[in-house]
Symmetry: D2
Subunit: 416 residues, 4 copies
């Protein structure tokens, strides 16, 4: 529909060529390096060399929006123009890091761009934008239902010149990764505040601060998503200076709310790519295997599965594009309806599409010989990460009802 900008089109061509030349041919090597790694959470040499290549080709920090274009070389890309690029990266699960475009760092860098002080920015943004270090965003806790952010219990107390943190977090993406140096931590600084949305504060905590224990990596459906991974962490009297506070005391909830637009869309964009690639693989498989006297491609139910998957990908992609466009035009707050619609729809659709494509591959489809099983896991956990679908549907449902309920409701006919 809308055409992409010249810049986006050019970058799409360059990224596509890069994928062909450097990424797909390295999938096997990457899997092997990870498989053989002593420490699955150490940076992989292959990743580092690919990052250098991407940087040298100008395929770097593509997520940076125009509003923050001082932080990139390409002048900034709006969400709409970034979408097809992120989709392409989604075709290989680990490839976004190659372009410094991986979760959760893109979201974290945006938080810093939007909410950090100049001093904080100058300390943390350059190495993040340069891909030297990685970061984590630590909100979820194992002992409470964290989809309701007001349940968060980690204590952040002011003691003298310090914030003192005590509590337990889990599912902290990136925290296991050796390259990660910074945690953005949300906790309760004022648990008795009658305004439940003013009790929270966010602080910047260097990962090597005394009192931080990395308990263990967590898995989803058997995957540890190494080397980035998801960690359980204990904060045991962890102390950071008072000026590590982000935005200001009691404003943690506000940041949490603001953070979530683009990051969620990036997941959806990448999932489109994952689905599209799965579909292509399934087509190749269907064309090349034969059962009961005919190629799979001629079994009518296989055709229906391919047809459905194609159609659903089209719809999912269009939804992502419309939402991206709305964010570009009207900002995140005005777009929360479309963001919620997209976030609660695309991962589930993509999970089902990949499920079908795996099935067409037979037993092999479930293995690591193909990228589908891992992509399936990715789609599955996106129904939970950044808040479970149900909670977003609660908010969106309310909003839609409110929007239309003032219209005059027709009453059941009263004939008499």
């Amino acid at each position: 529909m809308h055409t992409f900008s010249e810049k986006s089109l050019r970058l799409q061509a360059e990224l596509s060529a890069f994928m062909d030349e450097y990424i797909y041919p390295n999938e096997k090597a990457y899997a092997e390096q990870l498989h053989q790694a002593e420490n699955r959470f150490a940076p992989l040499p292959l990743m580092d060399s690919l990052k250098e290549k991407a940087k040298s080709k100008g395929l770097w920090n593509l997520f940076v929006p125009e509003s923050h274009n001082q932080h990139c070389n390409h002048g900034g890309l709006n969400n709409y123009d970034y979408a097809p690029l992120a989709e392409m990266m989604g075709r290989v699960t680990w490839s976004p890091e190659v372009f410094n475009c991986n979760a959760p760092d893109t979201g974290n860098m945006e938080v810093l761009m939007n909410y950090a002080s100049a001093e904080q920015q100058s300390q943390w943004l350059p190495p993040l934008l340069n891909g030297e270090i990685r970061s984590s965003y630590a909100m979820t806790e194992p002992q409470v239902a964290s989809s309701d952010a007001t349940n968060i219990e980690l204590r952040i107390e002011k003691q003298g010149d310090n914030w003192v943190l005590n509590g337990r977090k889990w599912f902290i993406t990136g925290a296991m990764y050796e390259r990660t140096k910074l945690f953005i931590v949300m906790g309760k600084s004022d648990p008795e505040n009658p305004n439940r949305h003013k009790q929270q504060t966010q602080v910047l905590v260097p990962k090597d601060t005394h009192g931080i224990q990395l308990i263990r990596p967590l898995t989803t459906l058997g995957y540890d998503d190494a080397p980035i991974g998801h960690a359980e962490i204990v904060f045991d009297n962890v102390r950071v200076p008072l000026n590590n506070v982000l935005l200001g005391e009691g404003r943690g909830f506000e940041i949490a709310q603001g953070r979530l637009g683009p990051g969620r869309m990036h997941h959806c964009m990448r999932l489109i790519g994952a689905a599209q690639r799965s579909l292509e693989l399934a087509c190749q498989r269907a064309a090349s295997r034969t059962t009961f006297g005919r190629p799979l491609s001629k079994h009518q139910s296989v055709r229906e599965d391919i047809s459905k998957s194609f159609s659903e990908i089209e719809m999912a992609r269009l939804l992502v594009l419309k939402t991206s466009h709305k964010m570009d035009q009207h900002g995140v707050p005005a777009s929360v309806d479309m963001i919620a619609a997209t976030k609660t729809t695309v991962p589930r659709l993509v999970q089902n599409i990949i499920d079908r494509c795996m099935q067409i591959h037979g037993a092999g489809g479930l293995t690591e010989d193909y990228f589908m099983a891992e992509a399936f896991n990715y789609a599955r956990w996106c129904r939970q990460a950044d808040g479970p679908d149900q909670v977003h549907q609660m908010a969106l449902g309310k909003k839609v009802i409110d929007r239309f309920s003032d219209v005059q409701a027709p009453q059941p006919e009263q004939v008499s």
Copy 2:
């Protein structure tokens, strides 16, 4: 995404105002006129007066494409610009006729514009475009699986100066309608032709030709779709002059193939409107009724249903728009993939959306007090009309597999 043309935007505003002023307020009156009609297939006075109003406001023949703009006053609208207008009409099942935009006439007029001789056009197009008469397209037969057009058995034989037709058709939309004067009939003129796609011919048959018997109106899910309706018809030695042939002898299949793009999309556009209105009704209902201590709008599953419906409507609408745009840019033949994707996806989605919205209304949702039950029926039969979804998925599945199967297929790893 793409913006609509100025003209489309203006017409949207005018059509919306017209709906508010003349259509919604007349829904009850229309239902009553139809209910009390002696003959359910006679034109309704209310319809005629509304048509005059629409014509006088310039809301007439909105479906006419730019390529045929000699046939309308507005200069023609491409599919993309027409989509939001058709959607609006879809909010009231019977309203498209008010604007001379109803099925199957829009499709039939296009057939005439594209395939009829100058003489045929001058005879039939003006009264059709003027809304004086209606037309039918007669292909499907009760005794064969008609989704495979090569099964069609109605005989069309050349005898002297005439074509002689013998056979039985059913599900011929519009044929019961008293206003209908023209049938476009497909049959077999050359059943032994080794090329199965050259056996068919289409001829123009005035409805009042001797030998035509209207057997009965047919219902779907209990609805007769009066006054337009769907008829069973017997052709018993029906004779028409040789120059009533359309395009040429043996070219019936070609026309059948060409006919189907815009008509299918028009159904989908209208279904979006039907779904959207159902959603709005459901929101109003949810806001106004209370069970077990809370308004329906606060029961979480109601919110999830509303949220899902909103999201699915967004996707369906975008799919229709993309397909329309592709048709505008590249023509129907190049767009058959997107047309099939849309045709096999939207009616099913809309059926489910309306099902949910009816449920939120309780028992009343199933009645004729609301337009939902009839719209549900419309969505259901669109999964069959213009060819069942399965047949389109067969074709689309094949096409998608072919498209991607030449790509180098990754093989299961062969470690040794």
Copy 3:
């Protein structure tokens, strides 16, 4: 699994023979009589003659349970043994009345057997059991969400020797039917009672009582379910003697609760028959039509649809049987979990099965040439009648959670 009793097996054979000899061959005649009827809600001559035949063959009042066997000639049948009989009747939508086994009368007779005084019983049961008259159960109201029975507003006031009823009901099955003579009406006699479940009273109201106005028949998905139908009714100062109260003042809610077991299961039993017959029709169709070079029966997706439908019918039937057995062994109150599970599962499954079977029939599948479209409507409204699925799921969900939540919950691992 469990074998059916000798009696049930014998009756199954007899009923099956009766269906073959008298019901299937009369389907067309029945449809025509109804179609041509001046008054669609008058008893049909064909029905009356079939009832005589059924009575003479001992296929009468098969629903009567052993506990009430004084009311039938066959000694009573428990729910389990009745299930296959009701399933058979479900194969022809209108056939249950032939055997005096139709809704809502079976449920109403049970109410009378269980809650009516001897005098009330002797007045109303004999003509009902004899099929001379029919009855209605009037609870739902158009202006409130009636799935929460405490919302009911119809006023029942004691004035002198009378109850005086004022209010509006709708969706009262059977009320339009000329044969119907009795309404069981639920209303509020004590709206200020702090116990919200003691505010309601039920009274017996002869249909011809002064002040009752039959407003109109209602349709669902285009069907009026004539001659039994569903009516909207106004009660305008309707007076009945005080001893027309059922069970006692303030005990209306208690009756409403007790009424619902067997009636709901009867719907589900019949729906199994509807689904089974649809499947059989689809098989016949698939075997007899050919598209694209092969019979439908060889298109893989048709086989998958048939296979799924077969499997789902098996499951649905087993669920009904288990629930019936539980009711026989432990009574209705102890079986509410299984009743809710069945009631919220079977109609939806059956709706989908019939949807698939209609699709295999092409356009014809949606018409009244087959019984499927009407059966589809039946399945659809069973998701709403006797309370919407959501409300039963609310109760069952709560019950299941309570049952298992006392078990020791494993906690997320706390490694440290």
Copy 4:
């Protein structure tokens, strides 16, 4: 419905007590032993001690049917009586081995009981029945679509006194396990035989035979199912004596057909247990966490999810029981319809149920802290193992169509 035998009821009680006393309390220890194992495919000490306990309690070889009761101490259990026992074992993924009831050994032992010579039986059955060794069944090959067994390519040639095997297999469950000593291998001995079902032969191959290379373990959705696992294997000039043939040359297909009944049902039985346990966990979670002011157990959509899951488990369990009963009464060949219906229905239902239960747990539900994620994987691969659902639906669909298509098909009405 049917009651279980006294023996089954006694064993259910004993097994349940055993699970409580020895299995659930050891889940964490088992996970840790496996996690820390140098070789994930070596037998675990904990498993060995639990096996001793089970054996000493008489909870051993419970799968052995009455027809082979010489092979067990309990006199044999029919499928119906075994079903609730297998369900119980399914509550802990690794527990079936504790009772010598795990796949693929139960299926393999049955093959030996049914098809092996006395000599072959005396060599292999005692150690298998005693749990000393394990076995594998090797049919699937990576380079062909193995769901059509006639595609199998591994060559089995007679050379002198030996069969010589050359080819590649994969997804051979158990082959990685150190305890496994026997492979039952299917291959082609007579590829030119015009009867495509006589080309295959099955031979017994000791795992340590020269020429066998274990290439690698395979994963599904990230799980390696260690220690049993699934292997890729190369057979490179592997020689075994001629009398290692099973049943006879050219009879491999016959064995493959006969093998599959009980094994498939055992998977389904265990999956019911997995679903049931997931449901119980979800209930506990819903009762113990709170979001947005109410416990999860009061959010209506959570209740609906629980209600649906409960209902589906009931249906799935009943389907398994009916099929088991039919197999007991009429044998496997007469039960292929019900076996196919169960095999193609239960895994998919269970996958969805577990998906919902994981979602209710938040992010934690996807981890190994709960057994759900692994059980989800089990359900997913059961849609592929023992033949993909589509192939069984193909066969069942054909069978059902044939069954009903001889019935007189009603024709569309021909009014004239």
